[in-house]
């Protein structure tokens, strides 16, 4: 992992993440385990870590339903859980 750090906003709070981290990793590191609610309102978080299950989806820079495990953190990125 590179040493440099990027700054992003997660649910309104500014957070630092190592360059090369995915948004899913940054969310879990920030202590958020529930990234979304299922159809029946159950808490859900990442399952597959590789873009298959869609359980890690969040809004990134205003685009809904992005798979956070396949998006790298970037400076100024705004992430909101769904």
């Amino acid at each position: 992992m590179g040493k440099s750090v990027v700054r992003l906003t997660i649910d309104g709070r500014e957070t630092a993440a190592a360059q090369g981290s995915t948004v899913a990793a940054a969310l879990l590191n920030a202590g958020l385990t529930e990234l979304r609610q299922s159809v029946n309102g159950e808490p859900r978080g990442p399952l597959c870590g590789m873009g298959i299950c869609f359980e890690c989806r969040v809004s990134i820079d205003g685009r809904a339903h992005q798979k956070s495990c396949q998006v790298l953190c970037a400076d100024g990125m705004v992430v909101t859980t769904e």
């Binding site: 299922s38 159950e42 859900r44 978080g45 399952l47 597959c48 298959i52 495990c69 953190c73």
Partner: protein
């Protein structure tokens, strides 16, 4: 929409795709496509940032050295509107990629079997958790139960431990007798013995429970404990994460969409890795889960085949057979026990996208009928998680794939033209 054409297109930049691209590029012009931000596939994920993956380094420098067109963060979601064209979703929009020969190296995913509590946050696939750690997740001092089946469990436990996690135990459903039979067969694979010994030293002191499986996970808001069962009885272990999967299952959606013959969940290929569609080749896990060595050999064979290099194809054939035998030993050693089929209770969610329970599925007699009435398998994962589970629990076969193979944006759908109008 953007159109590009390429002589040879390789889908998947894991070991198989990288080997195929590097070998094909000796005589042909190659485009390599992967949905991750960087090449490497499952085993060499994040190698660009962190080093240490054995064998990966050499292939990465070869890949860097070829004059290929690289489309990363790009996912093949369906077929384009003319023959031999793929529809590719990229961060900046859709693209059509046209090919003369196609090599499919789409890899495998983890096999998840439903049990009470498997939908709780922090219950993940072992490979999935490892992928997250490779991509920046911190696990220092986290208590992790690694469970399910297969050689990946120990590799993941060693990896997590190296990153500071406290491994509560490794839980393997296969009985000790089957594993020791498998161990004896490793004699034919000295490299694997060295690998196993190295691995063992990294998990020294970690409890390895064979003939044991996870019956339930519980917790409020995330997993907090698991119940383990064996023929000796039950016990509870507290944890922060449960990493659990029952081996791997091949990604055959794209080959299936392209009309390649699939048999027993694997893409059928000949000794040149050619599928039933003459201009389509397939290499790596989609032809049967066999690990990185088999993936590399198959990738090179597919690449050599499209490059017209028959000598290389023939010279690699004994290696292919050797690693196919290894794959068969793995299958046998880690065969799934019948008890796992009884873990899902009537109210256990099977389809996580649509929250469909087992009892709702059991009212129907086929995947098609269940899908129609419950929307099982019609959520965003399109059956990638529940399809294999349903196959294991109810014996239903997933229906043939219809485009798109991954959900895409409405704007992208508009690009489909006549191909999806049936």
């Amino acid at each position: 929409m953007n159109h590009v054409s390429s002589d040879v297109v390789v889908v998947g930049a894991g070991p198989a795709g990288i080997a195929a691209a590097c070998t094909a590029a000796r005589t042909r012009q190659v485009t390599i496509i992967d949905d991750n931000p960087a090449p490497g596939g499952q085993i060499w994920r994040g190698y660009g940032q962190a080093s240490g993956a054995s064998g990966g380094g050499d292939w990465f420098s070869r890949l860097r050295g070829i004059a290929a067109q690289r489309l990363y963060s790009s996912r093949v979601v369906g077929l384009g509107d003319s023959p031999r064209t793929l529809l590719v979703e990229r961060p900046d929009g859709m693209m059509q990629v046209c090919y003369r020969d196609l090599i499919l190296a789409t890899g495998a995913r983890e096999l998840f079997l439903p049990f009470a509590g498997w939908t709780l946050p922090n219950v993940m696939g072992p490979g999935g958790l490892q992928a997250l750690v490779k991509c920046g997740l911190r696990v220092e001092a986290k208590r992790i139960v690694v469970a399910g089946s297969g050689p990946l469990l120990l590799a993941v436990a060693a990896y997590l431990r190296k990153h500071g996690a406290s491994i509560v135990c490794v839980v393997e459903q296969a009985p000790f007798s089957a594993l020791s039979r498998f161990g004896k067969r490793l004699v034919q694979y000295p490299g694997k013995i060295v690998e196993a010994a190295r691995l063992q030293s990294k998990v020294l002191g970690v409890r390895y429970l064979t003939g044991t499986w996870v019956e339930a996970a519980s917790g409020g808001g995330r997993v907090e404990s698991v119940t383990l069962v064996s023929h000796q009885g039950r016990r509870r272990e507290d944890c922060d994460y449960l990493a659990i999967a029952y081996g791997l299952t091949p990604n055959v959606e794209l080959p299936s969409l392209l009309g390649c013959e699939i048999h027993g969940g694997k893409v059928s290929v000949n000794d040149r890795q050619q599928t039933s569609q003459p201009h389509i080749y397939c290499a790596g896990e989609p032809t049967g889960v066999g690990g990185v060595d088999l993936a590399l050999v198959e990738g090179q064979i597919a690449g050599a085949a499209v490059a017209g290099d028959r000598r290389t194809v023939e010279s690699l054939s004994p290696q292919r057979e050797r690693w196919q035998r290894f794959a068969a030993f793995l299958d046998e050693g880690f065969a799934l026990r019948a008890e796992l089929r009884a873990l899902a209770k009537p109210d256990t969610i099977v389809c996580r996208c649509e929250d469909v329970s087992l009892e709702r599925l059991q009212r129907f007699d086929s995947w098609r009928a269940a899908k129609l009435h419950t929307r099982c398998g019609m959520g965003p994962c399109q059956g990638r998680v529940c399809g294999a589970a349903v196959h294991h629990l109810l014996g239903w076969d997933p229906e043939s794939v219809r485009p798109p193979i991954f959900p895409i944006t409405v704007a992208a759908l508009a690009a489909f033209g006549n191909h999806s109008s049936d």
